[in-house]
């Protein structure tokens, strides 16, 4: 049963300062993009991040790996392509 508290998974990426790589630092469950931003910022507060962003898990498309959390996002091959 779906409730108004249902949440989806977001991947959290951040970089500590200018010149640093953007790193995957964790995940957060949230009912939508706006709260995902808030929850990520409040949960991963161990650093004074220069930049943080969140990506819905379903939007990450793996290129070379066929297992792991994003495996189900591999696009189905179009017949004849």
């Amino acid at each position: 049963m779906r409730t108004g508290l249902d949440e989806g998974v977001y991947e959290v990426f951040a970089r500590k300062s200018r010149g640093e790589p953007l790193r995957h630092i964790g995940y957060i469950d949230a009912p939508g993009d706006e709260l995902a931003r808030v929850y990520a910022w409040k949960t991963y507060d161990e650093e004074n991040w220069f930049e943080m962003c969140v990506v819905p898990r379903g939007a990450v498309i793996p290129v070379n790996r066929v297992e792991g959390p994003w495996a189900k996002n591999v696009p189905e091959e179009t017949p004849g392509s």
């Binding site: 409730t3 508290l5 964790g26 995940y27 957060i28 409040k42 949960t43 991963y44 297992e67």
Partner: protein
């Protein structure tokens, strides 16, 4: 379907292999990891209400802020551990909202009331230190990549909790009089509580696979020694007495009381005078849960149903 047999996976792990997804796990590995993560998540979650009730005794707005910052950290750590469990196919919804209070897997210490500011800071000094010993060991040794990465944040923050505990223990110890007496009373019940937290001694422990799968690196007795090696000198340095000392000949810390022994949660007192009990009796006490179990569990989930109904 796992590509390895149990023995093949253990051998690969011994060679430094890091697992990144459930597909690579054998049933034995998955089961051992789920047990470990459930204990971790439940412990973080139940520390929050224990500290939250105690934070009401904070003596200033500054101390309120630090106490609540610690509670916020603990909830975030719980959230992260439950998220890792979801990726193993275990429902967070069920774990947090679907179980009976006595089914949570946190240690007995977090079923106890923390009744004043001294008890809160000693909990930071003792319980959070136990957390660092256990999770620091997991962080250094775990063969599960997502957990190793998640623990970077956890380790960093638990160190702050420990520092908070130590600084305040020092302040109370220096004050003398009633403050020091109260601090000593905290140590008297919370020291053996933390010692017991590390679980069965190695000579009685059934083989759990956690070491073979490198889900942790040190045994229960080794972790207990690590905890004592910093806690005993800290307390001695503050003029507090603890029922343990360093034995030079044995090159280890030894307890000065019957272990394990019975606990009277109402009086917050260990019954040293009644002598040693079996670990079977300890497990019975743990299973029966402590005085705050239902109250703490209810406090983290009481509004779930009403808010969900407003949103539908």
């Amino acid at each position: 379907m796992t590509p390895y047999t149990e023995d093949e996976l253990k051998k690969k792990i011994r060679g430094g292999y890091i697992l990144e997804s459930p597909e690579e796990m054998t049933p034995g590995y998955r089961k051992a990891l789920i047990v470990q993560l459930t204990v971790q998540a439940d412990t973080e979650l139940m520390s929050a209400p224990a500290y939250w009730f105690a934070a009401r005794h904070a003596p200033s707005t500054n101390t309120q802020v630090s106490a609540h910052a610690i509670i916020q950290d603990e909830l975030a750590h719980a959230n992260i551990a439950y998220r890792l469990l979801e990726d193993l196919g275990v429902s967070k919804e069920h774990l947090v909202y679907g179980r009976e209070p006595h089914e949570f897997k946190h240690p007995y210490g977090f079923d106890q009331p923390l009744d004043n500011w001294a008890e809160l800071v000693v909990a930071n000094g003792f319980f959070d230190r136990a957390g660092i010993c256990l999770l620091g060991d997991v962080h250094r040794n775990t063969s599960y990549g997502p957990l190793k990465r998640a623990l970077v944040k956890v380790d960093m923050e638990e160190t702050f909790h420990l520092r908070h505990g130590e600084v305040w223990m020092r302040r109370l110890a220096r004050a003398g009089g009633a403050a020091t007496e109260l601090l000593q009373r905290c140590v008297d019940w919370m020291f053996p509580m933390t010692i017991e937290w590390f679980g069965l001694p190695d000579d009685l422990k059934h083989h759990s696979g956690q070491l073979d799968y490198k889900l942790k690196g040190l045994t229960n007795d080794e972790l207990r020694q690590v905890w004592m090696s910093s806690t005993v000198p800290l307390c001695e340095g503050l003029g507090l007495s603890v029922p343990a000392h360093y034995d030079e000949e044995a090159d280890e810390y030894v307890l000065e009381y019957p272990f394990p022994c019975e606990y009277d949660p109402g009086a917050k007192r260990w019954l040293f005078e009644d002598g040693e009990i079996t670990w079977g009796a300890v497990f019975e006490r743990w299973k029966g849960r402590g005085p705050m179990n239902e109250i703490y569990v209810d406090s983290v989930r009481r509004s779930r149903a009403s808010v969900a109904s407003w949103l539908n």
